[in-house]
Symmetry: C2
Subunit: 133 residues, 2 copies
């Protein structure tokens, strides 16, 4: 059963609507991160095959890995029942999705009321990102 995407893609009510997009590793199924897409980010992701999000802090499109080189090759895309959440299965170039150098942004586990770092660093952020001048 297929239905045309223009009527059944993510439901961006307006060009400014932001929807959450989950990135999951295509091989391990580890959840890597959650970011947001507006319609343009969605369209650029489809067009380029690499994840493009909308950065709420920078108020602009943000191609994942534009600075670090750790882009996300999009292998599969899923939409949820309400068409208001996107799930990307990706190949994470560089092996780490988190700007803090961890494989996943979810590198802290809540255990008995405390947060415990359970992830391992793949890279040193200070070596990967430019320092502010």
């Amino acid at each position: 059963m297929t239905t045309p995407l223009e009527h059944n893609g993510p439901s961006f009510a307006t060009d400014d609507t932001l929807l959450p997009a989950i990135a999951q590793d295509i091989d391990s199924n580890q959840v890597l991160m959650l970011a947001y897409m507006n319609r343009e980010a969605w369209e650029q992701t489809l067009a380029t095959g690499e994840a493009v999000y909308y950065s709420r802090s920078r108020s602009r499109l943000w191609k994942k890995g534009e600075e670090s080189g750790n882009v996300q090759k999009v292998r599969e895309i899923y939409i949820d029942c309400d068409a208001d959440t996107i799930l990307l299965k990706v190949e994470q170039i560089g092996g780490a999705a988190c700007h803090e150098g961890y494989v996943s942004c979810f590198f802290r586990q809540c255990v008995e009321g405390e947060l415990k770092v359970i992830g391992k660093r793949v890279f040193d952020p200070q070596q990967v990102y430019r320092k502010p001048s």
Copy 2:
């Protein structure tokens, strides 16, 4: 390394702040759904060990499975680097998270510009949910 949760849990700016919460199957690592939590939903989830979300459409707390019985037993909880997204690893009672009867709400894949149903129904929604009177 552990840090006290009161300073390092999810960053609910106010009692009304909603943060996305991803539910992932503890065994298969399949992403089941995304919903939202406010502070009270988060606290009830911690206190009960079963997922409680905030329903934006109903404007109230929503214990997952309160009607269908398909509750989510929370096995592990993770917080992302920005402390604004929650990841729950759950045991999904009933085997289906989606109100449409699918294992996952992400039962449609975007393939070559069309949405294709790739999930299989575990239950018939009409048999599980009460019809409006």
